[in-house]
């Protein structure tokens, strides 16, 4: 019997700002995901993508990003909270695909300089992800007061996040597997 395809779960770093603490969070989650058996992952930096700004929807997409989303079974969004919402650049990037997302799992890692752990970016992102056809999971990772969670050079100062990420990834992988089976085997009636 052929080996099953590894589950594809890219991690999207959702900000291009200088000094972004979200990069530390994204690298940590990506590293934990790399330890999972049967999972293939990559870290996508929205700041390095070639997205058009003078078109809308699928006309804007970076072909490499679109290809990665096509093969993805689940995605991790690492989203800082900018005025209660995801960065505009991340929204623009997400809007470049549609069919690639349908019936795929999505988990949010929220990052905030303040004490609320990015809860508002999670709440305001849910209707966006739903409209894109993604299926959100009920586990999140909340990096509140992120300046205290990582050192300036990215060292994790609070080890409790490793266990939180483990739980988050467990649920995401379960949902990714379930939706892959459904997507590929259960026909719409």
């Amino acid at each position: 019997m052929a080996e099953p395809r590894p589950l594809s779960i890219p991690v999207i770093l959702g900000t291009a700002r200088k000094g972004r603490m979200s990069a530390h969070a994204a690298r940590l989650v990506h590293g934990e995901l790399q330890k999972r058996e049967g999972v293939r992952t990559e870290l996508i930096d929205v700041g390095s993508l070639m997205h058009r700004l003078d078109d809308n929807g699928q006309g804007t997409g970076d072909p490499a990003f679109t290809a990665t989303m096509n093969q993805a079974d689940a995605i991790v969004l690492v989203a800082p909270e900018y005025n209660h919402a995801m960065p505009g650049l991340l929204k623009h990037v997400l809007d470049s695909c549609l069919q690639e997302y349908i019936h795929k799992a999505a988990g949010i890692v929220a990052v905030s300089a303040g004490p609320f752990g990015g809860t508002r970016v999670i709440e305001t992102s849910l209707p966006v992800l739903r409209e894109l056809g993604l299926v959100t999971i009920f586990w999140d990772v909340n990096f509140g007061s992120v300046g205290k969670v990582f050192s300036e050079d990215g060292e994790l100062l609070d080890r409790s996040f490793v266990r939180r990420i483990d739980k988050f990834l467990g649920e995401l992988i379960w949902m990714g597997k379930a939706l892959r089976y459904a997507r590929e085997n259960i026909t719409l009636q």
Partner: protein, 56 residues
């Protein structure tokens, strides 16, 4: 469901028709009752490729 299942453009396997979504302002035949283009979503059980076409 579509009369003719799609063949995967990547590997040739028969794809599974797993979802529909109305796309407003999309290219294709507008469904007058739904108010937009009804896209049928297909996934390949062999290679995982996904694609869509206007629903039949």
């Amino acid at each position: 469901m579509p009369v003719n299942p799609m063949q995967c453009p990547k590997c040739g396997a028969t794809m599974n028709y797993h979802a529909e979504k109305v796309v407003y302002g999309g290219a294709g035949r507008v469904d007058a009752e739904l108010g937009g283009v009804l896209e049928a979503m297909h996934a390949c059980p062999r290679c995982g490729h996904v694609t869509s076409r206007t629903a039949d």
